[in-house]
Amino acid sequence: MTLGMSGSLLSPELLRRLEQLQLLAQRRAKSHLRGERRSRARGLSVEFADHRTYVPGDDLRYLDWNLYGRLDRLFLKLYEEERELPVRIFLDASESMTFGEPVKFDFARRVAAAVGYVALCGFDRVSVLPFPEHANELAARRGLRAVRGRRSALAFFQHLEQLTAGGPADFNAALRRGALEARQPGVAVVVSDFLDPAGYEVGLGALVGRGFQVHAVQVLAPEELAPTTYGDLRLVDSETGAHQDVTFGRYRLAAYQQTVRNFVARLREFCAARRVRFYQAGSGDSLDDLLLKQLRAGALWS
């Protein structure tokens, strides 16, 4: 791995530290493709799992001849088959992610890059699913589907960098479609601001219901956490174009922040109730803190 291959997304120092991490699968991998993950499937590996009685048609190579010699019965040695862990990263590329200083989408992209890199290093299959669809980025998006192997990291990063954010998005629809499309459930990382007027419950619920191990990363801009524009405002929603008249002053900042905290708390509760790991970060926060402390504490990786 050369230092320059990370592009502008992740620093070499961070990459080096990410290489030491390993995605943790809460459940046994259900992928059909062989990988480095323990799976419930019995198959070829060095890890012994169990015996079972021979039935005609079994591969004779896996007969336990020592046991046949002692008991005069045919047993088959079962090994755990190591399979890959599919990692799906849902990246919110809606218009609302273009806000913030620094831009929320950049932060989200770096999170996606870091998660993807860790997965690639673990020989897992990574898919980044940006939503909404952008017709002019089909090549880059295709390049982000089912990426495997650490050698693909450079291309992976480059494709990530080619992504742009814009347009309205339907959070729930995107997640539901992503859940249905997946042949096997695996780890799902949702990086978004979760500021969809239609809510986030349906989408996250669909992922959970499909059996994904869901990690939700909420990225909010500092401006959203503590607005600095005061006065009589007519706020225009960047995605829906909806108007919202508001009179805002410094003295109402605390009340607003309480609203934000309530919103985040409700999201956190929702996630906790569905065993969805939830992380929250400002786009101005340190990426290291999120990746190396929060995600590790949330058992995405170790």
Binding site: E95, S96, M97, T98, F99, G100, K104, D193, L195, D196, P197, A221, E223, E224, T229, Y230, G231, D232, L233, R234, L235, V236, D237, S238, E239, T240, A242, H243, Q244, D245, V246, T247, F248, G249, R250, Y251, A255, Y256, T259, V260, N262, F263
Partner: protein, 611 residues
């Protein structure tokens, strides 16, 4: 509770306006944000895009409505009917005489007086009342007692200075009943103190506060003017004038004499401090015209620097002497210049062809209807003869009357005289102990001089005073003299002109321009024009006749612009000049204005905080 100004409740219409302001939404700044989701949650209850929002409980609104209600209530001027200790009554006398035009105050004494009086209005308390009197030749009540400061200010602004002399007596007579029997009443006199005697108020103890105006007396002025026939040369006219210097320094004065606007003669005088000096010009006059005397040079008071006099060429006086024979009388009358004497034994017609008739101890068949010198002749409706007296001793005579100018009654003995009571129309000129001997006056629109004794029964015709008296009498009884006197008006006094017939139209052109048309009753026998507050020559058009009369100040008291330190009421009472006087200068208005400013600031600050 009642209200002085219930109309102010109309301001209650402002209440819905305040509420409307709250209903109206403010103009908003457009801002693009990532998502309004959080804001919607933040302002879950602020909805709708209509211009009005639901009126919510808002302390600021409540306070503003409360403030507005209080302001409206205050504007309605509520009061409680009750007994109050009663306020003061201030009688402001504003001297509007000519000397108040002096320019030693900025800009004039009168304007300064008006300013001071306005300041006094400001210091009035709510229960105080004020009266505004303007004192000049006539005293005008500009404002009857009121507490209404606006009306008082308006009244003071309506006051205007005149060219007339001061008659403070009249003003004090008006003011006295107002302040009498009131505990808190004051007369505030704004004047320079030049006034006639106020002796009759000596014992009244008037509460006068004298606000003295004026700083210096740098003024020279004409204080008298007369034009008469020259004593030595009847074809020439003598112009008598007196020039006074009010300053305490010597001052030069250049006197110019003009006739109908043409400069005839200039004379330079050197006036000593506070000196009055006579000037006499002798000029030829070939036609009727206006003599104008002018003092050249700058001083504080310009109005007394010019005086005019209408001078007509004197016509001969036609005298009818009705006598049974009196040589002394005939000779004395004949010696009078301009007199054309006719002698008759009786008067059989009203004698309208004559200017005056002398009745020497006769009772005429027909009483003449012209001016009359009656010697022992009397009509019963003139006066009441009560009897006769032997050898009345002359004890007194009125030397100031024009009839008795240069006339003395020393060594005059009278053998016998009628005793009368002085009638109301006449004044007694010469008095004995028992009876008046000579009466003069105006009766039924003509002048009458009545002698109660026969001159031949006295030593008077032997004295030098007798021809002088007759000359005076002819002068006084000459209708031309009366007419000339009528053409000489003091500023502020009315101009009167007897009319024999009512002209179709009467137009007056005052010296400052705009002509006035006077309306006369068809039965009017006299023309009276009262608006003579400006000095100068007034021209009168009576139908086709033209007439000019001169209005002059010619008042030594006004010319002497020295500010008086005190106003004297008789010998003992006086009011000293007050320059400073404690007054309650209310400033609640300033506080109220400051309160309003604070309120505005609060509003601004509220918005700033919101912004």
């Amino acid at each position: 509770m009642n209200f002085l100004a219930p109309a102010a409740f109309a301001f209650a219409a402002a209440l819905p306006v305040v509420i409307l302001f709250y209903l109206l939404k403010r103009k908003r700044v457009l801002k693009l944000v990532s998502s309004t989701l959080l804001w919607q949650k933040f302002l879950a209850d602020t909805q709708a895009s209509a211009p009005f929002q639901k009126l919510r409980h808002h302390w600021l609104l409540v306070l503003q409505l409360l403030l507005l209600c209080l302001a409206i209530l205050a504007l309605a001027r509520p009061y409680l009917a009750g007994v109050s200790p009663g306020g003061r009554l201030l009688v402001v006398i504003l001297d509007a005489s000519a000397s108040m035009q002096s320019r030693d105050e900025d800009p004039t004494r009168f304007e300064k007086a008006r300013r001071d009086a306005l300041a006094l209005v400001d210091s009035l308390r709510d229960t105080d009342q004020m009266v505004v009197l303007q004192a000049a030749a006539q005293t005008e009540v500009k404002q009857s007692p009121t507490s209404n400061k606006a009306a008082l200010r308006r009244a003071l602004q309506a006051c205007a200075v005149t060219d007339a002399p001061t008659r403070l007596l009249e003003a004090f007579k008006l003011a006295q009943p107002l302040v009498r029997d009131r505990a808190q009443a004051e007369i505030h006199l704004f004047s320079d103190g030049a006034t006639t005697s106020l002796d009759e108020f000596e014992h009244e103890g008037l509460p006068v506060v004298y606000h003295r105006l004026g700083r210096r007396a740098d003024n020279r002025g004409l204080v008298s003017l007369d034009v008469r026939a020259h004593p030595d040369d009847p074809t020439r006219r003598a112009v008598f004038a007196a020039v006074a210097n009010a300053a305490s320094n010597p001052a030069p004065a250049r006197v110019e004499l003009l006739f109908d606007g043409q400069l005839l003669e200039t004379r330079t005088l050197e006036l000593g401090p506070r000196e009055t000096r006579p000037v006499i010009f002798t000029v030829a006059q070939d036609r009727d015209g206006v003599f104008t005397l002018r003092l050249a040079g700058e001083d504080d008071l310009p109005v007394d620097n010019e005086a005019s006099m209408v001078s007509r060429l004197p016509p001969p006086v036609r005298v009818l002497l009705v006598t049974r024979g009196n040589r002394f009388l005939e000779k004395a009358l004949a010696a009078v210049p301009r007199a054309e004497v006719s002698v008759a034994a009786d008067c059989t017609d009203p004698a309208r062809d004559f200017d005056l008739v002398v009745l020497d101890d006769v009772v005429p068949t027909v009483w003449p209807e012209v001016n009359l010198l009656a010697i022992r002749s009397t009509r019963t409706n003139w006066l009441e003869i009560t009897g006769r007296v032997e050898a009345p001793a002359i004890v007194d005579w009125r030397g100031t009357h024009p009839l008795l100018r240069f006339v003395g009654f020393d060594n005059v003995a009278v053998a016998e005289a009628l005793t009368v009571k002085t009638p109301p129309w006449a004044v007694s000129l010469v008095e004995a102990r028992e009876t008046p001997l000579i009466l003069a006056g105006e009766f039924e629109r003509r002048r009458v001089v009545w002698l109660g004794f026969d001159t031949l029964q006295s030593t008077w015709p032997l004295r030098v005073s007798f021809p002088i008296f007759l000359a005076n009498a002819v002068e006084w009884l000459d209708p031309a003299t009366t007419a000339a006197a009528q053409l000489r008006v003091r500023a502020g006094d009315p101009f009167r002109l007897p009319l024999t017939e009512v002209p179709s139209e009467v137009r007056v052109r005052p010296p400052d321009g705009a002509a006035l048309t006077l309306a006369l009753e068809p039965t009017a026998r006299e023309l009276v024009f009262g608006n003579t507050h400006r000095c100068g020559v007034y021209r009168l058009a009576l139908g086709t006749n033209e007439l000019a009369f001169a209005v002059n100040l010619l008042d030594a008291a006004e010319t002497d612009t020295t500010p008086r330190a005190e106003i004297r009421f008789g010998r003992y009472a006086r009011a000293e000049a007050t320059t400073l006087r404690p007054a309650n200068l209310e400033w609640w208005r300033w506080l109220a204005a400051a309160g309003l400013a604070v309120l505005l600031f609060e509003w601004w600050f509220y918005h700033k905080r919101t912004a």
